[in-house]
Amino acid sequence: MDPAFIVIQSLSGLASASSLFIIASGLTIVFGVTRIVNFAHGSLYMLGAYLAVTIVPMLLEVDRSLPMFLLGVLLSALIVGVIGAVMEIVLLRRIYHVPELFQLLATFGVVLIVQDLVIKLWGAVEIPGPRAPSLRHGVFIFDQRFPAYELFLIGMGLVVLGLLWLLMQKTRFGVLIRAATQDREMVGALGVNQAWLFTGTLFLGAFLAGLGGALQIPRVAVNTQMDISIITEVFVVTVIGGMGSVPGAFVAALIIGQLQAFGILIFPKITLVLVFLLMAVVLVVKPWGLFGKPDAAAGRAILPEGILSLKRFGRVDTIIAGIAIAVLLALPIVGDNYMVKVGIEVLVLALAAFSLQFLIGVGGIVSFGHAAYFGLGAYAAGLLVTRGGMAMEPALLLAPLVAGGFAALFGFFIVRLSGIYLAMLTLAFAQIVYAVCFQWVAFTGGDNGVVGVWPSAWASSRQVYYYLVLAMTLAAIIALRHAIYAPFGYGLRAARDSAIRADAIGIDVGRIRWFAFTLSGAAAGLAGGLYSFSKGSIDPTMISIPMSVDFLVMVLVGGIQTVIGPVVGAAAFHSVKDFFMPLTDFWRLFLGLSIIMMVLVFPRGIAGATSALVDRKRSVTLPAGGV
């Protein structure tokens, strides 16, 4: 290869590394102090860009100069910083002590809210930004033209690194940030004003996100998908570098910048896959990233977030379940076509949510990418039918096998980790699947997806297909529920409660978690397969992050401590969504607010709250020691 070309390529790698570092450093500082992985960091980045395309042109009207451009960028970043501080005061402050899953979901609620607000304020059409005055020319390096603005970006990355270093070493605020990153409780015990420290940290983190976004406007047209696309990349950078480590984020951003710059030459379509593979490999070798440290709290016995006690069905429960099944059986007879369609969707989603609860509630494995296995099942079934010319029946059998196979492959890496790193890796694998389905147009149809996935002739009537779905989802849910009560489920719960104790009584913790992951993936795959035949088409949104979040919300609505809750949650969530979505342009805003409200006031979900109520009644009516 031509050496000049290599230099240019690696310079453009440095420019994107520089942008990535500016954004990622904000996320990692916020995580270090608050221990919250802020999903909304990408939204803050997007807001920075939108504010900049509004403010910068106004300033350039006054005086078309580079200082005016920079002033606009800085102003945008400052406004985003204030928004971050407000977000800390209004929301984050209330969720520091809730489990990671709830924190991730609540901040994802902010993502949804910001998306709708941005569309409302700026419209859905992308907005090209102004170019930076005096940096519009190209610089010649080895006779190759290289944009001056990219060089400027490289410089900005170094400036931010230097300023952060000064801040961390020379100011009281910086020292407190470092101290809190090492031991948050100790900083609190020493009498530091934590509220001020946390708000300040969020201001800094949001400022960096906004700065990163504002600096992009000469390079990319500002659009409403910027938030999700950047947040996955930034997650990868912070995880590889070690969450909470600024130098780690810098090194990881450099590696990823180069990987993308050169990866695009070798595998133009799958650079994203390369990046996520790098992350998987790093986490296998160093489970806390390159510069990360295990959490100080590790080893303490805490009550896990999930199913705490298994009750058998009482008389009332059996009657309710019986009525529910009777209603489900009668639905195609008494209901119209629309109700049958919604019924199919609810059943399919109930199975997917139940399989996720099997992982989270029983196994303590918080998957943030469960849509991957749902989608893999759907794509497997759809492609086997449309491209393989297979009939529905074998395709439906193979769908869970394919999804289970991939779950086994990804799970092999995933189950070795725990906590936030595990959640990040599940997200990364889901994004790989999404990227492949989205970009491999020739095979998967890309954005358009696969069409013409219809059931066999005998099941082509909606009513008959409904009964098929009912039989298969019920069978799968009953089987999974049985597994929870069987020794396998107890073993999985034992591994969750205390891995070290489980190991000391001969339970192979890694194997049981791996097996559970595979089983859950296969069940989600069956749901996906059933879904694809009911729709007749598949597209990549089935694998997207919002889909994974929908599943999590179903589990949460139903109650994370209950066995059957997710089924209730799926029914409630889907009915509400189906009813409200056509009525409003602000569905995401509504959903985002609901998620946040749920995390704040209703963390045990519908079924959880009901059973708590029943328990309270019982303990009143029965004398102590009655059962």
Partner: protein
């Protein structure tokens, strides 16, 4: 045959030597205590025998087989049960279910989907709970128990696999004095009755000198003394470590004063 024979065990963490050429042996039915100041390498030695840590070098011969570096569950399968310094139980389960889980694993049925776990080996679990005096609490959630009772449950869990060797890392830590004596008496009687070797670490010297057959004194990763309780009690080096030079003199003076 010697139940446990440890020889030349070494472990370093960076520049810190946590264990240097540690060697000892243990017979069936014998109670061996490892004592020493904080950071002496007691837990490290312990975790190397139990498989939680891999030794840098050395042998851990269990009934004639070298188990050094094996995974905890492989060592468990060869007949080693253990309790932890900070009690480790399955906090979402009842007391009986904790023991049942150990029995399910002992019978190789963890990957079974066939039956309901709550009914499996319940009677055997209740017998074990009876042995440690916890039968009356069998159906209480283990997370509601007092810490001393949790330690008893841990003992029942460790006994579920009918071990030849029990490893107990500070079995009485965090317990009231009266409870301590009871738990140690219980352990000692079970060990003698069932011919189980017990290796334990302990800070409570009363418990150690009352129940241990042999005592091993570990300081900065090295064994500085070992022998019968009386021999160790009389050992000048041990006195020095525990009391310091001035302390020894002070103790001698105090003793003379009393005599």
């Amino acid at each position: 045959m010697t139940l446990l024979a440890v020889s030349g065990l070494n472990k370093r963490f960076g520049g810190v030597v946590a264990a240097r050429d540690v060697a000892f042996s243990l017979q069936a039915g014998e109670l061996l205590a490892i004592i020493g100041p904080n950071g002496a390498g007691k837990s490290t030695t312990f975790n190397m025998v139990g498989g939680q840590l891999r030794p840098d070098s050395g042998q851990v011969m269990l009934a004639g087989e070298n188990v050094a570096g094996l995974a905890p569950r492989a060592i468990w399968r060869r007949g080693v049960g253990r309790t932890f310094q900070i009690a480790q139980t399955f906090v979402s389960m009842s007391v009986a279910e904790n023991v049942q889980m150990a029995l399910i694993s002992w019978h190789g049925r963890v990957f079974s989907f066939r039956s309901r776990a709550e009914t499996l080996y319940r009677l055997e679990a209740l017998d074990l709970l009876d042995l440690v005096g916890m039968r009356g609490d069998a159906d209480r959630p283990v997370r509601e128990l007092a810490y001393g009772d949790v330690k008893r449950v841990e003992l029942a869990v460790a006994l579920a696999s009918q071990p030849k060797l029990l490893l107990m890392d500070e079995p009485t830590a965090g317990m009231a004095p009266k409870e301590r004596a009871q738990l140690m008496e219980l352990t000692a009687s079970i060990a003698r009755q069932r011919q189980i070797g017990v290796l334990f670490t302990e800070h409570d010297m009363d418990a150690v000198f009352a129940h241990a057959d042999t005592i091993l004194v570990l300081v900065r990763g090295e064994i500085i003394a070992s022998g019968k309780p009386d021999e160790v009690r009389a050992n000048a080096r041990v006195k020095q470590v525990y009391l310091g030079d001035m302390g020894v003199e002070a103790a001698m003076r105090a003793r003379r004063g009393r005599a």
